[in-house]
């Protein structure tokens, strides 16, 4: 081992000069939320950077629903779970079949369908929100979970189809030919060849759709209204309705709500980064 030269120290110092502000910038809002979650009310509002008596009492209040704003916490948590899982599953179904049809079966009009999907992908979701709200009203789906599920599937599937199509195009065509020689029907080809080979991309896309639905605020807030129907993010937004909102409880609920997606993200990071950025970089 040799001693670092002055030049190396200089480089290292400059890197730290970038790294430390980046670290602070990244963590401050999250740390602030965490701090509120573990602080008793008095400490939280006293501007302390670490509470004198850190406590898990706030979590207890949330889990036992012991506050006016939290009386439907578990129902809302469950709503979020059901909707996220349903969106993940339905998006996978719709997008996988579509990508298979376009990429492997070369269905007539597949290219047009792909372009239409891409077009939807680029329309900002907030622009579609107002007409979508009225459409769900016309279909009689307002205030039903199906409204949110179908809206989120609509928003998630274009990107899902595009990513899956890119991935399927890379599978060698000989595989399909061999399977067809062996007498496989297109459905068998789909079930026995295509889906197993596409597993990594399917995991990525399922996770993508699931997280998209779990994190969605605008559509959930427009399409659902009853306290026992809404999802957690909408419940969090509703805290703002009162001036004397219990911030420490809001931040605790927010922290609980943020944990599952963060955990899922880090667990599936390998798939997410490989599967999802590959498409964006190809330009």
């Amino acid at each position: 081992m040799k001693l670092p030269s002055l030049r190396d120290v200089g480089t290292e110092a400059r890197l730290l000069l970038i790294g430390i502000p980046v670290l602070i910038w990244t963590l401050v809002p999250i740390y602030h939320m965490f701090l509120f979650a573990i602080s008793p009310k008095e400490d939280a509002f006293a501007g302390k950077l670490w509470p004198d008596h850190p406590t898990l009492h706030n979590f207890e209040i949330v889990f036992r629903q012991q506050h006016y704003f939290l009386r439907d916490f578990w129902v809302q948590f469950w709503n979020s779970v059901v909707i996220a899982v349903a969106v993940g599953a339905l998006t996978l179904l719709v997008a996988t079949t579509a990508a298979f049809a376009i990429s492997r079966l070369r269905v007539p009009g597949g290219r047009v369908a792909m372009n239409l999907a891409l077009f939807t992908y680029f329309i900002p979701a907030a622009f579609l929100a107002v007409p979508m709200y009225r459409t769900m009203g016309n279909y009689g789906l307002l205030n039903s979970h199906w409204a949110l599920i179908l809206a989120m599937v609509t928003i998630a599937s274009p990107y899902a189809i595009w990513v899956l199509k890119q991935a399927s195009d890379k599978l060698p065509i000989e595989l399909d030919e061999a399977a067809i020689m062996d007498g496989a029907t297109p459905l068998q080809l789909f079930r026995l060849v295509y889906v197993p080979l596409m597993m990594p991309s399917l995991v990525a896309i399922g996770t993508y759709a699931l997280l998209l639905a779990w994190n969605e605020y605008l559509y959930a807030f427009l399409l659902l209204s009853k306290d026992t129907d809404i999802t957690l993010p909408v419940a969090l937004g509703n805290f703002l309705a009162a001036d004397d909102s219990p911030w420490e409880l809001l931040m605790t609920t927010g922290f609980i709500y943020a944990l599952p997606p963060a955990a899922i993200y880090y667990v599936f990071k390998r798939y997410m980064v490989g599967g999802l950025t590959a498409g964006a970089v190809k330009s």
Binding site: L15, I18, G19, V22, W25, T26, P29, I30, H32, A46, G47, L49, V94, A95, A98, A101, L105, R106, V107, G110, A113, M114, L116, A117, L118, F119, F122, P124, A125, A126, F127, L128, P131, M132, N138, Y139, L150, A151, V153, T154, S157, I161, T185, P186, N215, Y217, L222, P233, L236, G237, F239, W247, Y257, A258, P261, Y266, T277, A280, V281, S283
Partner: protein, 292 residues
């Protein structure tokens, strides 16, 4: 529907090989594509058509033209896109160069750096909102502790409030774009840099003549994509400022919802239609680029 299509084709097959017909895989293709087509018709074609139909009255546009909040929202949106996004992408380009340095601590930092992208935006935006609360927020508490003065009423100043909304947006999406640009940087052949080093190129020259030419297309694509998506960024503004103070920090994404709340649906749609001349060329450009 699927079975129906299959049945009709079997008849065509029976009629003889010369007639133009669909092969079995194609029939299956149509059947497998149909779920998405149904979703597309029911939840894209119908709402878009309905929205355009609602926005058909010229009177709506006159009303918008006379609404100072609309003009303000349009200006805010442009500031958000032109200044906010370009600043964000420059920072992302810079940070992508930082994160490809091979150090153990930078690896760890990059894991933490993804957090804002991995956690949902609602709780963190609310966290920032409370941090800047004039009376009880931690920022003003600290200002009071150290100076004895009351801190400013941050979110009550439209310029500060909009800047902070842009800041929240950047906080949330910077990791994603940095990650993409890192992938772009790592795709550059290493021997180009070695050759440049042999020729005695400085750090800036390496960036200017090696990195930038290889990254330019990706960078422009990312910037345009980020602009389109940011047009739909409802949360950063709505949950931080609620469009206030005095409706001065609205952007187009929140304005539509404001009109919806006021039961002026035609105005909501007209406001979105007004943004289309800006959006559609960008969308067309991106489609050309990605559909290859």
């Amino acid at each position: 529907m699927a079975t129906l299509t299959v049945a009709t084709t079997d008849e065509t097959v029976a009629r003889g090989p010369r007639a133009p017909r669909l092969t079995t895989p194609q029939v299956w293709g149509i059947a497998l594509l149909s779920p998405y087509i149904l979703v597309f018709i029911a939840f894209v074609v119908y709402p878009v058509g309905y929205g355009l139909w609602l926005a058909r009255h010229p009177a709506s546009y006159v009303a918008l033209y006379h609404d100072p909040i609309f003009a303000r929202a349009a200006v805010n949106t442009l500031i958000f896109l032109v200044i906010g996004i370009n600043f964000k992408m420059l920072v992302a380009l810079f940070l992508s160069g930082f994160f490809i340095q091979e150090r153990r601590w930078i690896k760890w930092l990059s894991v933490l750096f993804i957090l804002p992208w991995a956690v949902p935006s609602i709780p963190t935006i609310l966290s920032v909102r409370f941090m800047f609360n004039p009376e009880w927020g931690v920022i003003n508490q600290l200002i009071f502790k150290f100076t004895g003065d009351d801190g400013p009423n941050w979110l009550n100043d439209p310029a500060v409030a909009l800047t902070m909304a842009i800041g929240v947006h950047i906080w949330k999406s910077l990791p994603f774009w940095t990650l993409i640009l890192i992938t772009g940087r790592l795709a550059i052949a290493q021997d180009l840099f070695e050759a440049a080093a042999v020729d005695g190129a400085s750090g800036w020259q390496k960036f200017r003549y090696v990195t930038w030419p290889s990254m330019r297309t990706l960078y422009v694509t990312c910037t345009l994509l980020s602009m389109i998506w940011t047009l739909g960024d409802f949360n950063s503004v709505y949950l931080l400022t609620g469009g206030g103070p005095a409706d001065l920090t609205h952007v187009l994404a929140t304005l539509g919802i404001r009109y919806l709340r006021l039961d002026q649906l035609d105005l909501a749609m007209a406001a979105i239609v007004c943004a289309l001349p800006l959006v559609l060329p960008l969308v067309y450009f991106m489609m050309k680029r990605l559909s290859r």
